[in-house]
Amino acid sequence: MWINFPLFPQRASAMAWQVDGLFFLLLAVSGFFTLLIFVLIFVFSVKYRRSVHPHPVQIEGSLPLEMAWTLIPLGICMIFFAWGSLIYFQEARPPQDAMQIWVVGKQWMWKFEHETGQREIDQLHIPVNRDVKLVMSSQDVVHSFFVPAFRIKQDVLPGRYTQTWFRATKVGSYQLFCSQYCGTNHSQMIGEIIVMDPMAYQAWLGLGGASGSLPANGRQVFQQMGCASCHRSHGQGTGPDLAGMFGKPVQLSDGRTVVADEDYVRNAILNPGAQTVAGYKPIMPSFQGQVSEDNLDALVAYIKSLAQPQPNATSQMQ
């Protein structure tokens, strides 16, 4: 137990340096104020102890001092507010060209699916120095995806997608924890992120295990579930044409405009009446409960793939 006794987490992502930098600055500032209070209390209680200072001097207060110890801490706080928010905004906005991994949390395991079709459980292999975006959902209760070495954490919710991203900077294996309490084996819902150099990663991809890419699987689901009978290309169907839709603004029948992201597409499948596209009748049935979390991810990945001009894909839709 004494051999392996670290006091600080590993630092293996670009974000880790930023978070630690802010953390140490805040630690220094807090340390200063804690020490200030401790020293003042100690000095006052020794210097003004009753045996040497029997007659207290009554002081009502001091407006300048009150102002000082209101405004100075407030000013310092605002610096940390701004800096902390900058980091948070970066964490919330995955880079456009990030490689995408689909994550499903369930009691008590993590399921990962690569765009290229590899599936993993409680292990995620990714290449070093590459932006990785995670699109996550839960099959049951709220979980939370937490990799201390990357300093990232994001709750994983049932019924919708949440996202986070990271860029691993060091080859190695890092702990993944579920950090939102999720029932009996919450503490067993752990895994590892295996960061590989690009060559090794390519070799790992080549090992097989992939049964077709994720969008290709999605296309199969699309056909099995009969989606194509309404969603035809060039506006010929009773449903909107899905080619080129992903990532673009969509005009809804209630007048709102939303961007067709992963969460929109997911909602459009599970709860179509809520966000009907303008010009179409709200006739699509809900697929809530009829499509598994994994197939849902595949469907969304397929519809996303239609955003790129792929002559093959559009002809397949009909």
Partner: protein, 543 residues
């Protein structure tokens, strides 16, 4: 000063009546405070037993003492008991109940029978809660997050929620009583600017109790409705929204931490002035800081949800507001420290606990700044860093203040002095034990150990062992006062009316006070903490 012998022999609230009925049907605020003291002390030991089991289980990485399910129940029940049945009623229902009417110069609280009702409601809630625990327990955490609590947990969720639901009404009744008493029952001359700061801070806490508690009642009712009737509110599979629960839950439960800490801050204001023999530095600022905390405390709830999937702009607003609520707390700490400047300081036990409070509350408050900082919160959220932070505020802060207050007013409450030497030892043990228990948890949290883990990776073991060792010191620190307080009831030195030579109306009546508190309604002509002008010996009531 009256001699001890006289005070013990005269009629007081303890010897005016004997028999179980005279206690269970009493409407005397002082006796109801005693009923609360006995009840919440029992709850404290039950919650403390759960805490000790948690710490013992975490001695080994594989968690060999209890099963995962048992462990989950232990931390859930520890949280529920300590938050809803100990911390929330502690200072208000025991110390506040006893001293607020004395402090404002009143014969009792505004609604004495409502006060008794609040204790019965509390007891009913506690009985329902304990029944739910004895018959199988609950494993949702004290936070009842959905859809786990409404759909997936196989434990007594509805029973546990019902216990909290019922106990909430006792908190509302106490709050209501304090608000009306402080508005309507102040003695002639006791203006708002002369009101002791303990009353100000309990007033602020009472506002939150009355305005916030109904929200947790509604929320828990909705949990029961979804769990019992299958009506979709929070579970997305039934068309609900799990984040809605978190918003509703924290809308009460964040202000609730100010219900817990504000009365404690009031205790510290009383003690620091008394043992420095000085008026408080910046009375208006300390008083208004309490109100500012109560108001701002309602506007920061979503800082519990920065990684829950809320909008980044919402997170921005809640982060900003969370810094703002930290400022009035900082103002209080600076003012207490400045109060000691050029004072005449004695180190009696209440003051030692007050030193402990100021130091540990400062650390608890400053680590709150880490959690308000968005970029850092993402990393430390739901780790032991958060566990350490709120124990620094709630145990290092609030329980220290409660102990400080118990020692400070013990002579007034019981008419007996506690043994000073033992009390100082216990204050020291609590301080050392507390820091040994919870400081390592800050380090564990930043290293990434998630909270609510029955088992953990082996590299976290050393710090966990240290934490458990600290918890056993802390336990001794809490057992000691239990023993010597009971001992003092029989063998303690009889207490004079004003053992600390303090100002404040509660010290101008005998110890223990007569049933009607004052023989004549006092007339107040001096400011709070007027240690310079108030002629102690001459102003006695009931000549």
């Amino acid at each position: 000063m009256a001699t001890a012998v006289q005070t013990v022999e005269r009629e007081n609230y303890l010897n005016s009546n004997y028999g179980i009925k005279s206690w269970l049907l009493t409407t005397d605020h002082k006796r109801i405070a005693m009923l609360y003291l006995v009840s919440i002390t029992a709850m404290f030991w039950i919650g403390g037993f759960f805490a000790m089991m948690i710490r013992l289980n975490l001695l080994t990485p594989s968690g060999e003492l209890v099963t995962a399910d048992t462990y989950n129940k232990l931390f859930s029940m520890h949280g529920i008991i300590m938050v809803f049945f100990f911390l929330i009623p502690s200072v208000p229902a025991v110390i506040g109940n006893f001293v607020i009417p004395l402090m404002v110069g009143a014969k009792d609280l505004a609604f004495p029978r409502v006060n008794l009702l609040s204790w019965y409601v509390y007891m009913l809630g506690a009985c329902v809660e304990l029944t739910a625990m004895v018959t199988g327990g609950v494993d949702t955490g004290w936070t009842f997050y959905t859809p786990f609590s409404t759909t997936y947990s196989n434990t007594h969720v509805i029973g546990a929620a019902l216990g909290i639901f019922i106990a909430g009404f006792s908190s509302i009744l106490t709050g209501l009583n304090f608000i009306v008493t402080i508005h309507r029952m102040r003695a002639p001359g006791m203006t708002w600017r002369r009101l002791p700061l303990f009353c100000w801070s309990n007033y602020a806490a009472a506002l939150i109790m009355v305005l916030g508690t109904p929200v947790i009642a509604i929320t828990l009712l909705l949990v029961a409705v979804e769990r019992g009737l299958g009506i979709g509110i929070f579970n997305p599979q039934l068309g609900g929204d799990p984040l809605l629960f978190q918003h509703l839950f924290w809308f009460y439960s964040h202000p609730a931490v100010y219900i817990m800490i504000l009365p404690g801050m009031g205790v510290i204001s009383e003690i620091v002035t008394c043992f420095s023999r000085k008026r408080v530095f910046g009375y208006e600022f300390v008083a208004l800081a309490s109100i500012a905390i109560a108001v701002l405390g309602f506007l920061v709830w979503a800082h519990h949800m920065f990684v829950a999937g809320i909008s980044v702009y919402a997170a921005l607003v809640f982060s900003m507001l969370s810094y703002l609520v930290a400022i009035p707390s900082a103002v209080k700490v600076f003012n207490w420290t400045a109060t000691m400047y050029k004072g005449s300081i004695r180190y009696d036990t209440p003051m030692l606990y007050a030193f402990g409070f100021i130091g540990l509350f400062t650390m608890g408050g400053l680590t709150g700044i880490f959690l308000a900082t968005l970029g850092i919160d993402v990393h430390v959220h739901d780790t032991y860093f958060v566990v350490a932070h709120f124990h620094y505020v709630m145990v290092g802060g609030m329980v220290m203040a409660y102990m400080a207050g118990l020692h400070f007013w013990w002579p007034k409450i019981t008419g007996r002095m506690y043994p000073e030497g033992w009390a100082k030892l216990s204050a020291l043990l609590v301080f050392v034990g507390f820091n040994t228990t919870f400081f390592p948890q800050f380090v564990l949290g930043y290293m990434g150990m998630p909270r609510r883990y029955h088992a953990y990776p082996p590299e976290f073991q050393v710090l966990n062992v240290l934490s458990t060792a600290g918890a056993s010191i802390l336990a001794v620190g809490y057992v000691l006062p239990m023993i010597y307080f009971l001992w003092s009831l029989r063998y303690g030195e009889p207490a004079p009316p004003n053992p600390w030579n303090a100002v404040g109306l509660e010290w101008m009546t005998p110890s223990p006070p007569p049933t009607h508190n004052f023989d004549e309604t006092p007339v107040v002509t001096w400011e709070a903490y007027d240690y310079e002008h108030q002629p102690q010996e001459e102003v006695t009531v009931g000549h």
